[in-house]
């Protein structure tokens, strides 16, 4: 079973494996390049995982003391004594003279005499010193030990050689030559489990090596992956929606299947209007539904038709179910039901026309529509809203032409200048609802309305000139078209 190891742990395990025996923490630090804190932490973790065995023992450490340092600088007192005596002739030099030449304190001088005599360097006779042997101070075991201690700091007493041990004993008897301390020592070794883990690490490392050792072609393209994303038309819907909400408009939504009443009659579209024929509008077969409006509203709409268009209005015709030909079926219904004093609402949704598909016509597409209800609102306000909407879409040049819609008067269409295409493009239509539309619904103030096909905006944005392309669902396109068109 694979076991997750921290990099610190791996390095410790590899170091222990190299030694094949007990290692102290210092040693581990040295071999791994980790600092002591990291080593201690790692050892704790490994111990917890049973990867290492631990042995704790007490050891004695020694180092050089204050007097030892002096001796290191200006030699051991006995050496200085022999040196002074030698300089003064070496044969029968007065003890007193030697003493003053060495500049040693009494007890030191006496000890020096004693050591020098014991080693047979000098003899004493009647207060006179006779030098018997020349002295190589550097090769003395005591000096060498002092020198090592001075260099290394602490040494382990138990690791001293036999010579060092003797020198140590000699030096220890002199006050302040040696300082000692006792510490606890931690030693670690890989456990059996540790060796099995080792194999895992080695395999991993080998693999890593194999990868890193071989240079990779950093210039080559990588395999293709595709992002999850929204449909490109949905991105446009989102953009338009965000603009309208930013302009203070409230989003509404409604049914796609509507009665002819709300789709046509409430919008003062006469019942023999060409748009209502089956060649242009989808009707649901074999279904009729009683008109979903208050009786008084139906009556007022009916008499408005008979008065304005001079024909006999049929409720049967209004009961037919149609796939809405515009989202106005939803907005007008909202107005009739809420009769707001003031409102700014919008709707984005599917609309349907019984058309053969072509590069510029679909049987089903999206419409965005906005409505403003306000007591003193005007045609110029309507133009201002359009201008602002287009500006937020990045279309800065707008002009307006008169046009005709059955349920608005006056009616305008907007033309926007498209920089990339370098020409004027027709976009939304707009107008103020005719009184014959608003009055029967009990709305007593102007209603500005505007809207158009969303696909048109998408085509401009993506540079598409066949509207069917937007619904082709070719994955190469959906995956490939950039979301932000620069």
């Amino acid at each position: 079973m694979l076991i997750a190891l921290h990099d610190i742990e791996k390095r410790l395990i590899l170091a222990l494996a190299g030694k094949k025996g007990w290692m102290g923490l210092d040693e581990l630090s040295m071999h791994t390049g980790l600092n002591m804190d990291q080593v201690r932490r790692g050892v704790e973790w490994l111990k917890y995982k049973g990867i290492i065995n631990i042995e704790e023992s007490v050891i004695r450490l020694i180092t050089i003391g204050r007097e030892g340092l002096n001796a290191l600088k200006s030699n051991l007192p006995e050496v200085r004594l022999v040196d002074a005596a030698t300089r003064m002739g070496g044969e029968g030099v007065s003890l007193k003279d030697v003493r003053s030449a060495t500049d040693l304190a009494d007890d030191e001088f006496n000890a020096a005499i004693r050591y020098a005599k014991e080693r047979g360097w000098i003899t004493l006779s009647n207060g006179k010193v006779y030098v018997r042997k020349s002295v190589d101070a550097q090769s003395m075991p005591e000096y060498r030990l002092l020198a090592r201690l001075g260099e290394k700091g602490w040494l382990r007493e138990d690791e001293l050689s036999n010579d060092d041990k003797d020198a140590y004993r000699m030096l220890k008897s002199r006050p302040e030559y040696i300082v000692e301390k006792v510490v606890k020592e931690v030693k670690v070794m890989l456990s059996d489990h540790g060796y099995s883990i080792l194999k895992q690490i080695i395999d991993e490392e080998r693999m890593k090596d194999a990868l890193t050792v071989k240079r990779i072609d950093v210039t080559a393209p990588a395999p293709i992956i595709y992002a999850g994303r929204k449909h490109i038309l949905q991105d446009v819907i989102d953009e338009v929606r965000e603009i309208l909400i930013g302009m203070g408009f409230e989003e509404i939504d409604g049914s796609m299947v509507q009665s002819a009443f709300w789709n046509f009659d409430a919008l003062f579209t006469p019942q023999d209007h060409p748009a209502r024929e089956m060649q242009d509008t989808f009707y649901i077969a074999n279904m009729h539904k009683s008109i979903d409006a208050k009786q008084e509203v139906v009556e007022r709409v009916s008499s408005m038709h008979e008065q304005g268009w001079r024909y006999s209005w049929s409720s049967k015709e209004a009961e037919r179910l149609v796939l809405r030909t515009h989202t106005t079926a939803v907005t007008i219904r909202y107005l009739a039901e809420h009769k707001p004093d003031e409102a700014s609402i919008f709707s984005i949704g599917r609309v349907f026309r019984n058309e053969k598909l072509s590069y510029k016509h679909l049987a089903e597409f999206h419409q965005v529509e906005g409505i403003v209800v306000s007591k003193d609102t005007t045609l110029r306000d309507l133009m201002g809203i359009q201008q602002e909407f287009y500006r937020r879409l990045g279309l800065n040049k707008v002009k307006f032409w008169p046009t005709y819609f059955p349920y608005t008067e006056p009616s305008l269409q907007s033309m926007v200048y498209h920089e990339r295409l370098g020409r004027w493009v027709e976009l939304f239509g707009m107008g103020i609802f005719r009184p014959e539309v608003t009055e029967p619904l009990g709305i007593d103030r102007p209603v500005l309305a505007w809207g158009g096909g969303l696909e048109r905006i998408a085509m401009l944005k993506y540079g598409i000139d066949d509207v069917r392309e937007l619904y082709s669902n070719r994955l190469s396109m959906l995956r490939g078209v950039a979301r932000c068109q620069l």
Partner: protein
Amino acid sequence: MPVVTLQHRRLERLVGKGIDEILAMLPYIALDIEEEGNDYVKVEYNPNRPDFSTDYGIARALRGIMGIEVGLPKLNLVESSVATFNVDASVYSIRPYILALVALDGRMDDEDLRQLISMQEDLHMGIGRKRRKASIGLHDYDKVDGPFYYTTESKDFKFIPLNSAREMSMQEILASMDVGKAYGHIIKDHARYPIIKDAKGNVLSFPPIVNAELTRVTEHTRNMLVEVTATDLNTARDVLAVIAVTLSDMGFKVASVSINYDGYTITTPDMSHRRMSLPMDRLSLLGLDIDRKEVIECLRRSRLDVDEGKGKGEGEGEEVDGSIECLVPRYRVDIIHWIDLVEEVAIGYNISRFEPRYPRLKAMGSRDRTLKVLDDARSVMVGLGMLEVMNFNLVSMLMQYEMVGRRMDSNSLVVEESKSKEHEVLRDSLIPSLLAVLSRNVHEPYPQRLFEIGKVFSRVGESIREEWSIGVVIAHSNANYTEARSYLQAFLHTLFGIDVETEPVDEPPYESGKAAEILFKDKMIGSIGEVSSRVLSNFRIRVPVSAFEVIISRLIAK
């Protein structure tokens, strides 16, 4: 929308301005430039303005807005009636109305004639409602003698119809001539068919189908008889008024005709202008700061006029600017309400002079809550690496039912007379369309993980239920039920924090034994499974596909 071809030279002559100035002005009388040639321009006009069906009518409006000639157009009328029509009671149940005029002493070139014919066709299609409501006959007046008779004949009555070298019975005309096949349905069900004859029994016309060859109008025609037959009197009046003003502009003198019905007589055309009152305060809709004088100027530029004797300062205590009494020429059939006069003011003022202004609105933007949930669903799917596709609500029966091994039933929602096999029935599930998308993309790299959010429709009694749904298909060499179930879990867990149950079910398009219905609190909210190999082969998909669909509306319904 109907299209008129305008020749530059004629237009310059009729308007009295250079072509560039004219072309720049066309959009401001609501004409869309459809096509531009070296010496012509094609414009689309709105069907509410049948008077724009010739270059004469367009020139008339241009002269107004350009200030060359304003107010009501002058008509070249002959006061006295020059001909008589007698109407037989047998037409009452078929096509009861006939109106007529006689145009005298005109000269037409071939382009005038072409404009006239084109106007006739546009009127037939538009306010004539494809001849059902009204149709027009143009005749060479010199070939016939009044009085004229509007009556009926039996189906085997024969005459030489226009563009024919021989006599044909009316029945034969309906069966074999193109116009007969196209418009025969209007009168077919009647035992006898309408006919117009002169005093000698010569046939002028078989309305609303075809004229007689005898009265063919050519560029040599100097005097013309125009008759309009109709099922609606007002429509007939509108049509005749538009023709009358155009012929007058062409240089004809327009003379009246008496129509004798059983017991009463009317004289046509009625070219007297209508009076309509424009309340001054309604003009605030335009947001312009203009005075009464300017308003009147605008109306005159729109070829209307005002009666200053009325409205202004009329009666004691009444405001001087209370209303304006407008005079509307008879051919302006689009003006039916004071709001139309408001628009005439706007167009006369010229839309290009309106300055847009952003209103101060008491408004706070907000989102529809249901649509917001759908967007959240979309985000979750995208986060799961899915690609969104978009299909139509209206789909083919073949794909929605047959190809996925299902049968249509009485609850299937079919539309009437679709022009396309691709759009016949409203979707009750999103999965078939998604399979069709996979089918179109078999050459694209796999895995393909697609989703769609859309409505599913079902019939509930006499109403239609619309519910928002999300469909998912997963296609690659290892696609299976478990993976689909994982996505389903992740989706519902991330979106709503809910878990669902799946109970075995056996239904298309899924493989038997590898499908389930999705239940939340014992309510069916969707289905999941591996798509059966039979269905996959119908769609020519060569990798395994798993799919699920969740009707989101059932989870968020109050």
